[in-house]
């Protein structure tokens, strides 16, 4: 499996194929005398921003802490939850139960529902 090509930046879907963001980061663990192990996937704006520029990461984190859902820490998904890697990366989770959709939920409950026709 080519991690950069097939996993990083690919669509993340939950067990019902609901879109829950994309793979923004991959975490590995270095071990003595053994090959590095894949431990988690990460999804979240701060992880993504860090790849572009470390300063951008701090800005995004500050923004997220102040406004909206007030969540800036990325969601970590243990590699054991990964069901399938095709063009999409499918994980054995319930998207709505995770923090991956924190901003989606916040917007839905605080903004969209209050606009006529949005409910």
């Amino acid at each position: 499996m080519d991690l950069i090509r097939d996993v990083l930046d690919n669509q993340l879907v939950d067990r019902h194929h609901r879109k829950m963001g994309k793979v923004d980061g991959i975490i590995i663990e270095l071990r003595d005398g053994q090959p590095p192990r894949l431990t988690d996937l990460e999804t979240g704006a701060t992880t993504l921003a860090r790849r572009l520029h470390p300063r951008l990461e701090r800005w995004i984190a500050a923004l997220e802490q102040r406004w909206g859902a007030k969540r800036s820490e990325p969601l970590r998904i243990p590699w054991a939850k990964v069901r399938q890697v095709g063009i999409d990366v499918e994980v054995d989770l319930e998207a709505e139960q995770t923090t991956a959709l924190a901003y989606e939920q916040w917007l839905r409950n605080h903004v969209i529902r209050h606009i006529p026709g949005g409910r």
Partner: protein, 404 residues
Amino acid sequence: MSKLLEIALGIITSIGGFLDVGAIATAAEAGSSFKFQLIWAILLGTVCVIFLVEMSGRLAAVSKHSLASAMRERFGFNFYILPLVAEIIVDFLILGAEIGGVCIALQLVTGISFQWWALPVAFTVWLLLWKGNFSIIENGVSFLGLVTLGFVVATFKLRPDLPSLGSGAIPTLPQQDITHYLFIAVSILGALISPYLFYFYSSGAIEDKWDESHLNINRAVAGLGMGFGSVVSLGVLIVAALVLNPRGIQVDSYEQAALILTQTFGYWGFILFAASLGIVCFGAALEVNLDTAYIVAQAFGWNWGENLHPQEAARFSSVYTIFVFLAALLMVFGIDPLQLTLFSMALTAVILPVVITPFLVLMNDQEYVGNYRNGWISNSVIIFTIALAFVLAIVAIPLEILGG
């Protein structure tokens, strides 16, 4: 739905997708300033756009992934951020120009200045996206777009001289005003080969749940739809060349373009022009606004879809809600719609290379398009378009600074 009906609908839709404020404005400007001499630019742009639209449809039908998602997955976010930001900026200006086109149409008919119409028009665009679904957006507005065939009828009534039309199909440089000529040529190509069309079309194929069985429809729709759209553009150019050019009128403003059908159709010609401009720009405004929401949502892997209820895709619908009102502000501040149009078309040409180059990789990727990979003809067209786009990008920047 029977396949034939689906094809017919698709063709009508893509006439609407092809024609927008840019296509009309650049064609009118080209015809009035240089007679038939820029016909080649429309023909060249049409061939490129047919191939690229077919590919974005094929990519979506086979891989079930839109162009934007595929670009982000294959090239990584750090690359995709380039076309994404560029496209958002261009979409912003184009959306402003499309809203401007609708406002001008309303000003022509009512006499009330276009600035006053900007927010009501933006609100109507938003309301349709908020309440409607994809097929309303796609089919409803495009059927109205058939009024633009008036330009084609006018062309026949004016009986243009065929040999001189034919000579316009071959690129030649004029004796004077070379910078202006090149600027319009770049703007025409930028208006026809518009990236938002590819992103929108591939997202639309997914909204319509296309699969491999739709590949023939895709081919017919891309070829015939874009072809018909191009015929209307040519009509605008030819009518402008026959009506305005002999009098020495160069289209610097929409008020001047509004006169091109009065000679042929009288009062109804004036109304027909306003209606065509208004409908085409309104349809395009819907598409550009939706397109921006598509590419942003797809960039981050959010849930998206015009067929979803706004609360099922909260971030997606927030994007188009905010974007359309921001773009309308351009018109509220009274920026000249035609100048904005020409500027954003030339700017489109600048961002083309970064949007088209990924086609070459994606359309040859077994994992995405499987057995439906590009043949050598399609690949050659992409390579040619990339080369063309690079030349345009290099030419467009100085022309833009010099103001054409």
